[in-house]
């Protein structure tokens, strides 16, 4: 299949899977934000999600597929690229590229590690020291679980650090999607580039705000 073999085909696959995951990141952020409403907000939201039944598993499978496709091609492309460029220059001068664009594979791998931890932590809930209880309405108390976790400095720090990694990944990734899909031209590229980076900043601030406000005991 052209799409899976060709250099641009794989790039498009990575762009689309990446962008779908970005959409998930948007929805996830909106959902998480319900924590600011208090236990009622996020617990109700979680309860609603779980009531979807098999759809949850369909959704999880889709996400897994996206992650796999994105990850595998990311690794393949990176290996090919380093094979294509075996010798480095004695003087390494950067013109356009930056830390974010050069380290996509590393930020990607870190994100993968974080996702595994995050799933073990809040989905499988098998990490030690978890507060697992039901709230007054008999729903699972997500709020207490999250708040009690993030009151641990280390855990809060891991999450903030992961969000910085996510920021770096998307700093390059979001605008890259538009370039790969061929939606760039003279006028749009500078705008798309800025907007993409802005969105990455919004994610960083939005996601990090939760552990930070909990750690600062603003949200209890």
């Amino acid at each position: 299949m052209q799409l899976f073999k060709s250099t641009v085909g794989r790039k498009i696959l990575m762009a689309i899977t990446g962008q779908l995951m970005v959409l998930f990141v948007v929805v996830h952020l909106l959902g998480n934000s319900s924590i600011f409403i208090g236990p009622n907000g996020i617990n109700a939201y979680a309860e609603h999600l779980h009531s979807l039944g098999p759809l949850v598993w369909v959704f999880r499978l889709v996400m897994l597929t996206l992650l796999l496709v994105h990850g595998i091609y990311g690794a393949v492309v990176t290996l090919e690229n380093s094979a294509a460029n075996p010798a480095k220059y004695a003087m390494n001068t950067k013109l356009e590229r930056g830390f974010a664009s050069e380290n996509m594979i590393w930020t990607g791998l870190l994100l993968l590690a974080f996702i595994i931890y995050h799933l073990l932590h809040f989905t499988a809930r098998v990490t030690p020291g978890m507060t697992l209880q039901n709230d007054l309405q008999g729903r699972f108390d997500v709020f207490s679980m999250v708040v009690s976790s993030f009151q641990h400095g280390t855990i809060a720090l891991i999450y903030v650090a992961a969000m910085i990694v996510l920021f770096l990944h998307l700093f390059h990734g979001i605008q890259s999607f538009f370039q790969t899909m061929g939606w760039n031209n003279d006028c749009s590229r500078p705008v798309i580039s800025k907007v993409g980076r802005l969105v990455a900043v919004v994610f960083l601030l939005g996601y990090s705000s939760i552990p930070v406000v909990i750690l600062a005991r603003i949200l209890t």
Partner: protein, 252 residues
């Protein structure tokens, strides 16, 4: 103009006897260089000194020395063509350097551009990419009148912007992935917008991309380093155009 000021520079130059030699850096001194010397003329002077002292001169590719043939190929201080905007090595002048500077001079480095000697690399891969589809299949003679098909000026200007590529290889040399995407896209984009090139657009983009891969170039990951290094200012919007053409071809 200050003709009387001269500079002395330290050059750290990549020397490699042939394709199989591992190669190493050697240090040379360039003396009595004025600000009006071109970079290559500075190297000429160093070479004359080397010959007169019984040493092998530095081998480097060059030909037209007016910035259009695309023959010259040197990475100066880590930047292909030395980093002056829209300028090839041959048009780079020593007034961009200061007395006492140390300058690193290296060949293009990419698996698809094997080094043949010193600063000379083999860029046949670029020809191979063009051979796989960078043309319109028109026959000599038997074509319509030049004005028979009108081409809007905007389209023409866009095509010309892409067509200015000199095929020097700086894009792949600058790319952290050694991708030849900017080069490939410039030809794809030029021919894709012109009515004469449209009939073969889908086959062309697929063939040229496959060849690019086969030649050992890496994948484009949108660093845009190529655009910054290109001595002709070829824009990465052409890569976006190539991607678009590729998508179109997928659904054909």
């Amino acid at each position: 103009m200050s003709d009387h000021k001269t500079m002395t520079l330290t050059l750290i130059v990549w020397r490699q006897k042939n394709a199989n030699d591992p190669g190493k850096f050697e240090t040379y001194t360039a003396k009595d260089i004025t600000e009006h010397h071109s970079f290559l003329e500075m190297l000429d002077c160093v070479n004359e000194d080397l010959i007169n002292s019984g040493k092998e001169p530095i081998v480097f590719d060059h030909d037209c020395r007016e910035g259009i043939c695309g023959m010259c190929s040197q990475v100066i201080n880590g930047v292909p063509h030395g980093g002056q905007e829209r300028t090839t090595v041959c048009q780079l002048h020593m007034r961009k350097f200061k007395d006492g500077d140390t300058i690193y001079i290296e060949p293009w480095r990419a698996k698809a551009f094997p080094i043949q000697k010193d600063l000379v690399v083999d860029r046949t891969a670029y020809d191979t990419i063009i051979q796989s589809g960078g043309y319109t299949s028109c026959h000599t003679g038997g074509v319509p009148d030049a004005n028979a098909t009108l081409i809007p000026k905007e389209v023409l200007d866009y095509a010309m912007d892409a067509a200015e590529c000199i095929g020097c290889g700086a894009c792949a040399a600058a790319c952290p992935n050694s991708s030849a995407m900017l080069f490939t896209s410039a030809k794809v984009a030029q021919l894709a917008v012109l009515p004469q090139g449209k009939p073969e657009a889908a086959a062309r983009v697929q063939a040229m991309l496959n060849t690019m891969q086969e030649c050992g170039f890496g994948n484009c990951s949108n660093h845009y380093e190529c655009q910054a290094a290109c001595p002709k200012g070829i824009n990465v919007k052409f890569i976006a155009k190539l991607n678009r053409e590729y998508l179109k071809a997928l659904f054909k």
